[in-house]
């Protein structure tokens, strides 16, 4: 060494540990470039915690390196923590190198999600001189499929669906070149060595391959046909979004009469022409997760039956190079809906898709890269100034980023519908993608597969399973069978615990859990709950006054039943004669007679305190809908009847305090009376709807003030309603409360698993101190 030791400070060596999403996102080559630019020697490698670096240089330069790592990290990396410590023996490194993964057995790093095509890949895609020009499977370390094609960790090609494709020489060169965007890009491929397209019929006959297959799909879509396309996380059904008949045909074949469909536009420009978006919505739409975004705007040039009766429209941008090419060649937006029959998970396998979608799709645009787990398109919207996920799947799953630690080895099985599974692992908390409903065999198979594969991927054996209180949820039964230890968590407590976990808030807090229904500890159906959560556990502080649901579960499909139940609770037997009320006259005389007897004797007429069912009752009363064809339809259509502004007029809930140790009652009676009076004077539905919503907001504020807790958590499916959530947040903030609501975890039952996990492990950790308050609820 010839350096001048008096002028220069001595060399030091640091070990730097970076935690977060730093694998599979091009982090090591990024470190390599930063280090070599600064003249630092040493090495970088993946570790079980993330990325590990040993860097040798002058202390100031090392500091520079660390701050560069944080400031210029790759777009899709996420750094949770950087830890540095000096280590001994400087002076041994001659250069900076990238080390191969060492501890292959360990698999606790975070898993990258499936991201949309990055800008650089897009440029190559449309560059005629590039060797991947118009190649539908172009990707790099910044983009492309990951979670959907990983079999096991570490994230190496041999553990992915790409193992069947032998890299060609040129791809291999990029793979080993630290300066390349495709350095260790496990899914990288090119037309010479990677997957290829094919267009086939439902009987499996291939009509065209490669570029020709794409051309056939384009011409058929233009001719009005329904095409099933193999995306990243499964098959999608596409049809021209501009023509009412074409959309209608898809609806009929899929057996989906009213439920909103999503529209995919080829570019942000074309999207903005049809639907104006805010800056936040634009960012959400264009982000690498590429979710479906619900917009509260009018659209131009789309068929009227895409989201009938709804104020919001779900739109998205292409999430893969295949979608990019297809939409660009088409030149018009398409409806893109998941390739399944309603209630079932999305099809991922070519022959399975051809079998299951044979009656729906006219043709299939497929490829030979397998999908290892189904991932639906995620759904999000912007509410109260922040994005909120309504369905968490492609682009987001499986990692969650929580700011508090949780003991590894816990699992939670979620709800019965919109099921997700959560695990606590060494790499943090993992929340599975949306698995759909547990009423279908395929849904249950998906659940089983996910429970196994997540435990495998994250090298976690679950020791204790948290689950819902409902004995007949499939997920409850499975948790009880899987063992070795189980812990039930009340449905609405889980909704609130999910919000607390997501935001890292500690008690005490007032939880407002409003949803369709879940089983309460008193064996009635809860759903309009105010829960006080403190260090001792939770207490049911207040709830909506109960009313009966004639027909039980059937009430979730027929809003008129909720209306009839609440009217019966209000006026008793005479209600059956009020034929001017739509939910009454919608039942025949004989049906009413029978339902009256059922209500009188409590025959399959369970009592509920559900706000979701109250929404249904109001929607039926004002004549919006007596029967629903999909979950939450009536409430969403009621929402659509009004603007999102806070109404000047509001009905007023009663709030009674029945005495010590009994929950306060939020009484719907004056609200229903007010609505009946307004119906009688033929007030516009929009006005009734707005006054109803304002009443809901006001009663939250009233209960909050009375509860004397400064922080409020809002959870449960009712808070998917953008108007309700938005106005509630504003009102609570104005009244001086600090408000938390679900953002990266869905407010609906898709977030239950996280709440179950958080609550059960908390109860476990504070075995003595934290329990459900002994509470007499009569």
């Amino acid at each position: 060494m010839t350096q001048d030791s008096t002028a220069e400070p001595p060399l030091t060596r640091w070990r730097v540990c970076v935690r977060g999403i730093v694998q599979g996102v091009g982090f090591r080559p990024f470190v390599y470039r930063q280090a070599t630019d600064l003249g630092v020697t040493g090495w970088v490698g993946n570790s079980p915690e993330g990325v590990e670096i040993e860097a040798e240089g002058h202390p100031l330069v090392l500091k520079q390196l660390v701050s560069a790592l944080i400031q210029h990290a790759p777009a899709n990396a996420r750094i949770d923590d950087v830890h540095t410590e000096p280590v001994a023996h400087p002076g041994a490194f001659r250069e900076f190198s990238i080390r191969e993964s060492q501890k292959r057995g360990e698999a606790s790093a975070q898993l990258p999600a499936d991201w949309a095509t990055c800008q650089q890949c897009l440029q190559e895609l449309y560059d005629p001189d590039n060797r991947r020009y118009r190649y539908p499977f172009i990707n790099c370390t910044d983009c492309g499929p990951r979670y959907s094609l990983i079999e096991a960790l570490p994230y190496d090609r041999a553990n992915t669906a790409m193992k069947h494709f032998q890299m060609c020489g040129r791809c291999l060169e990029e793979y080993h070149d630290p300066a390349s965007r495709r350095f260790h890009a496990e899914a990288a491929a090119c037309p010479d060595c990677g997957p290829h397209l094919a267009f086939c019929r439902s009987d499996g006959d291939t009509l065209a391959e490669g570029g020709a297959a794409l051309a056939v799909a384009v011409s058929r879509l233009a001719a009005g046909e329904i095409i099933a396309l193999k995306g990243v996380g499964g098959f999608q059904l596409l049809v021209d979004a501009r023509k009412l008949q074409r959309v209608q045909r898809l609806r009929e074949r899929k057996g989906r009469p009213d439920k909103p469909l999503a529209v995919m536009f080829g570019s942000m420009e074309s999207l903005q022409v049809a639907c104006p978006v805010t800056e936040q919505e634009r960012q959400l739409l264009a982000g690498p997760e590429r979710p479906i975004v619900l917009l509260h705007t009018r659209n131009h040039g789309l068929a009227d039956n895409i989201a009938p009766g709804r104020s919001e429209l779900g739109v998205m941008l292409p999430s893969t190079p295949l979608h990019e090419l297809l939409l660009r060649d088409l030149g018009f937006p398409v409806v893109a809906t998941s390739g399944n029959r309603s209630g079932e998970p999305i099809a991922i396998d070519n022959s399975d898709a051809r079998a299951r979608l044979a009656d729906i799709a006219d043709g299939f645009l497929v490829h030979d890269r397998s999908i290892l787990r189904p991932l639906d398109d995620s759904v999000a919207h912007v509410v109260a100034g922040r994005p909120q996920l309504l369905r968490r799947a492609r682009g987001y799953s499986p990692n969650l980023f929580l700011s508090f630690p949780m003991l590894p080895g816990w699992g939670a099985t979620g709800g019965h519908l919109k099921t997700t599974v959560a695990l606590s692992t060494d790499a943090g908390v993992v929340l599975s993608q949306h698995l759909g409903d547990m009423d279908s065999v395929l849904g249950r198979e998906g659940f089983e597969h996910t429970v196994d594969s997540l435990q495998g991927l994250f090298a976690t054996r679950v020791q204790c399973w948290a689950h819902d209180d409902h004995p007949d949820y499939y997920t409850t039964r499975r948790a009880q069978e899987m063992g070795p230890v189980q812990r039930p968590v009340q449905h609405h407590v889980a909704h609130i615990a999910a919000v607390m976990a997501e935001h890292g808030i500690r008690e005490p807090i007032l939880g407002v859990a409003w949803d369709g229904s879940g089983l309460g500890e008193d064996q009635t159906l809860w759903g309009g709950e105010f829960l006080r959560v403190d260090s001792r556990g939770y207490k049911r502080l207040a709830h909506l006054r109960r009313f009966p649901l004639p027909g039980g579960e059937a009430a979730a499909r027929e809003p008129r039943r909720s209306a009839l139940g609440i009217l019966y609770a209000l006026m008793g037997e005479p209600v059956m004669g009020f034929e001017s009320l739509l939910p009454v006259s919608d039942f025949s005389r004989a049906e009413r007679k029978l339902l009256l007897q059922a209500l009188k004797s409590g025959l399959n007429a369970p009592e509920t305190s559900s706000i979701g069912r109250l929404f249904d009752a109001v929607a039926a009363l004002v004549g919006i809908r007596q029967k629903a064809s999909y979950e939450g339809q009536a409430a969403a259509e009621l929402e659509a009847m009004q603007g999102c502004e806070a109404g000047a007029r509001a009905y007023k809930f009663g709030l009674s305090v029945p005495g010590a140790d009994r929950p306060w009652q939020v009484d719907w009676e004056p609200v229903i009376q007010g609505i009946l009076a307004d119906i009688a004077r033929s007030a516009p539905v929009s006005e009734i709807s707005a006054a109803f919503q304002q009443a809901l907001v006001n009663v939250i504020v009233r209960v909050a003030k009375r509860a004397e807790l400064s922080r409020i958590a809002l959870g449960g499916g009712c808070f998917q309603n953008a108007c309700l959530l938005g106005t509630t947040v504003t009102a609570l903030n104005r009244a001086g409360f600090q408000v938390f609501w679900p953002c990266q975890v869905p407010p609906n039952d898709g977030g239950l698993a996280l709440g179950q996990l958080a609550w059960a492990s908390r109860v476990h950790q504070n075995r003595e101190a934290l329990c459900v308050w002994p509470y007499q609820d009569v």
């Binding site: 057996g255 369709g516 039980g552 579960e553 979730a556 007679k593 007897q597 059922a598 399959n604």
Partner: protein, 328 residues
């Protein structure tokens, strides 16, 4: 009613009511128990009956107490022969009511060819029982020459249903809750022993038999599938449900697959015997509407799926109790 203390009053009741009604040599002997001469394998079962109301369209607690136990014996592949009957009466129960029940039992026993050969009678305080409870136990001669139980079921075996479902449960519920039904719905309560004996006598390869009482077809099927370690698939459209029953179920939010029956059973038979079995079943009035509704197959144990007409399928679960809504 003040009988049952074991004294004269009880004796008088036995003399005047039970013995004449059940009328058989074992009871005439007035001994502590019956001595039965039973060679060979024997099936033995017991059941208690607590139905409310005691009388309902199509049947009553007395006939149920006989048929219920007779049917359980038949489900073991045995010919029902002797029953015991234990009565718990609520003080104040009108004698006429008791007489009606006992007569109905006697008629059911005669019709089925079983003898009620021993019994017991207790009276409890007013308010301690809903009028009257009956327990019956029964024995029968095993006719089947091979075991009849879930463990015998193999993949591919067919599932036969002896007739339309849901009538008993709805009839009892309607009577209890005083529901005003459009049409008369009568319980299907009956002995299913005759068609079962016929199947056995004609050598049908029966793997398993199960009567569809509490919990209905759904519970019986899930239970058998679970024990057999197999999955089962049924065709929803092939399951006979009377139109008025399905209308009531739909309105009240009940699933006919979970509603109780008292004269219905399912028979799992080898696939090659299906046609013959159905022929035999249809010759008996209690199973004249017998149908093939599905089959057992390899798959996760206890997974029962119902295929709907439009091609979708749903999982049929055994519920823990009431049908509490699962939709959030």
């Amino acid at each position: 009613m003040a009988h049952g203390g074991g004294g004269r009053a009880t004796a008088r009741l036995l003399d005047s009511l039970f013995r004449p009604a059940f009328d058989n040599p074992w009871l005439e002997r007035q001994h502590d128990g019956a001595v039965l001469d039973m060679p060979g394998a024997m099936a033995f079962t017991t059941d208690s009956f607590v139905v409310r109301p005691l009388f309902f369209p199509g049947s009553d607690i007395g006939a149920m107490a006989v048929h219920g136990t007779v049917n359980d014996i038949a489900m073991c592949g045995a010919e029902p022969q002797y029953l015991s009957a234990g009565f718990i009466l609520e003080e104040g129960l009108p004698l006429a009511t008791l007489r009606r029940v006992v007569d109905s039992m006697a008629a059911a026993a005669r019709e089925t060819g079983v003898r009620i050969v021993t019994g017991d009678l207790k009276v409890v305080e007013r308010g301690k029982a809903d009028g009257l409870y009956i327990n019956t136990a029964g024995v029968g001669r095993v006719v089947a020459n091979h075991p009849i139980e879930p463990g015998q079921v193999r993949p591919g075996d067919r599932l036969l249903l002896s007739g339309d479902i849901g009538r008993h449960g709805i009839a009892v519920m309607a009577a209890r809750e005083k529901l005003d039904l459009q049409s008369a719905i009568e319980s299907d309560c009956a002995s299913i022993a005759p068609p079962v004996m016929a199947l056995l006598n004609e050598g049908i390869a029966i793997r398993c038999l199960r009567d569809l009482t509490r919990g209905g077809l759904a519970s019986a099927l899930v239970e058998v599938a679970e024990t057999a370690g197999l999955a089962a698939r049924i065709q929803e459209a092939d399951i006979p449900v009377r139109e008025d029953i399905s209308a009531v179920c739909e309105l009240l939010g009940l699933d006919p697959l979970h509603v109780a029956n008292e004269g219905r059973f399912m028979a799992v038979v080898a696939p090659e015997d299906v046609d013959r079995a159905i022929d035999i079943l249809r010759r008996h009035s209690v199973s004249e509407a017998a149908v093939d509704i599905g089959l057992f197959l390899e798959g996760s144990a206890g997974l029962v799926t119902a295929q709907s007409v439009i091609g979708g399928s749903r999982v049929v679960d055994m519920l823990s109790g009431e049908q509490l809504p699962r939709i959030c």
